[in-house]
Symmetry: none
Subunit: 268 residues, 2 copies
Amino acid sequence: MVKSPSVVMDSNALPEERQQRILERLRAEGRVVAAELALAFEVSEDSIRRDLRELAAHGLCKRVYGGALLPTVTLTPLKQRRNEHSARKQALARKAASLVQVGQTLLIDAGSTNAAIAAELPRDARLTVITNAPHIAQVLLDREGFDVLLIGGRIDTTIGGATGSQAVDQVRRVRADLCFPGACAIDAAHGLWGFDSEESLFKRAMIEASDETIVVATDDKLGAVAAHQVAELARVQHLVVEHSADKSTRAAFTARGVAVHRAEATAD
Amino acid sequence: MVKSPSVVMDSNALPEERQQRILERLRAEGRVVAAELALAFEVSEDSIRRDLRELAAHGLCKRVYGGALLPTVTLTPLKQRRNEHSARKQALARKAASLVQVGQTLLIDAGSTNAAIAAELPRDARLTVITNAPHIAQVLLDREGFDVLLIGGRIDTTIGGATGSQAVDQVRRVRADLCFPGACAIDAAHGLWGFDSEESLFKRAMIEASDETIVVATDDKLGAVAAHQVAELARVQHLVVEHSADKSTRAAFTARGVAVHRAEATAD
DNA sequence: TTAAATCGTGCACAAACGTGCAATCACCCA
DNA sequence: TGGGTGATTGCACGTTTGTGCACGATTTAA
């Protein structure tokens, strides 16, 4: 007998109550379908979509065509992640790199997106780059023309960069114009979040050592959920998103004073 | 024995959910067949092909005739090929790596010879490696199975590693079993010499932080003398030389209490 | 070489989507 | 009592996205 307990008494629910129930279903089954929810709660799909939109804005679900899924926290090996070198990520990186000005000092965190940014930085702009990621340092040394400062410490293999207290100490002793904290979840209401405790502490130190912060977010990072807060949204001056990023999500950031930059569209 | 959960309930999946499941299958089995997927998800092969196309665009799979495979992780496009060690250097590196014992902590300087050594280190020996060179850190992270500690500081582009006072400070705060100072000139009468003032200071700090020192010298480094002294010969316990190294030169080092190790002969 | 399987592309259609608008309802304050 | 206010909802409209099919090109195996 397969009678699902979540089907009972779902109609006549108050809006807030309904969202709560949707969340329960989502967590129980890993996915929800908009049409099914509309049927169960006896409301139109429009209302369900509104609910899902709201939940997604709080990072509680990830909207997909047809319904919603649990937010993806993909812990793929570092070597593979680096190979996810799509045209989209390159377009994102190019837009981010265009925000950099001649002679500036940049603080760049580890991460595959940031590595892509490093590969797009203008070579002739007399840039100084401070990074905790050997891979990024390597990219810049190979390209030549950059002043590279390495942040030392024990390297977290899943992150690909140094993040411990030793690394934090060193970051505290430098000063940068711009800061690119990597692979965060970002949310218009709650700010910047990281997946790991130490990692988040390091990112926070980076941001405090910089005049301005630029968050570069692939679509899956927008409205994704994470455990540890890195910073308030007020500490973020710029947000670079993919061309495909949701319009209302972009508007939410703009409304809170964040300059949103949209990457060019790609062929794919 | 629990059957793989990815087989159940694959039909009626939301589009994005389906791609996620395909990826799971791919990672579990190493390959997926388009026709089988179409059957499992109850969609046309066209849709499956579109999914695979999209995954491939993100670098998450490699499309082949009939389905897809895991992406080939070939991280040696051009830049490393240029640095590709000659057979001689590799033989030298292999001999040097054979001196390392399980569980040891190594202090490895920047330099192409040392990078070759890093590539030859045994993966399953629970080694801790401290290095000032992003390239070496990178090699070890990619090979997996190493504990990597990064020495930070401003990177000298001609050396490819950090050497300033900041780097020296950090080296003073660690302790290693073995030390591989890179690219020195070594002479039986005068000891170890470096080409650059700061570089030499750093090497000296490395040696002082280690119990034993292993100097790995290509033929052109043997018997050469440079401007800045790094250490007395008494601080050097091991010397690794090429197969072609001069016999009397080897004898001179042996006579002064240095254990000389000769690399295997190579084809070229 | 030939035949079968697979692939890419263009196309049409349906489902899902975002947005603006009007209707409804609870609630508050004059 | 009555009008204003804000939240919630369903609907209409045009747009985007996913899907299957047809057709010709390409690849594979015999």
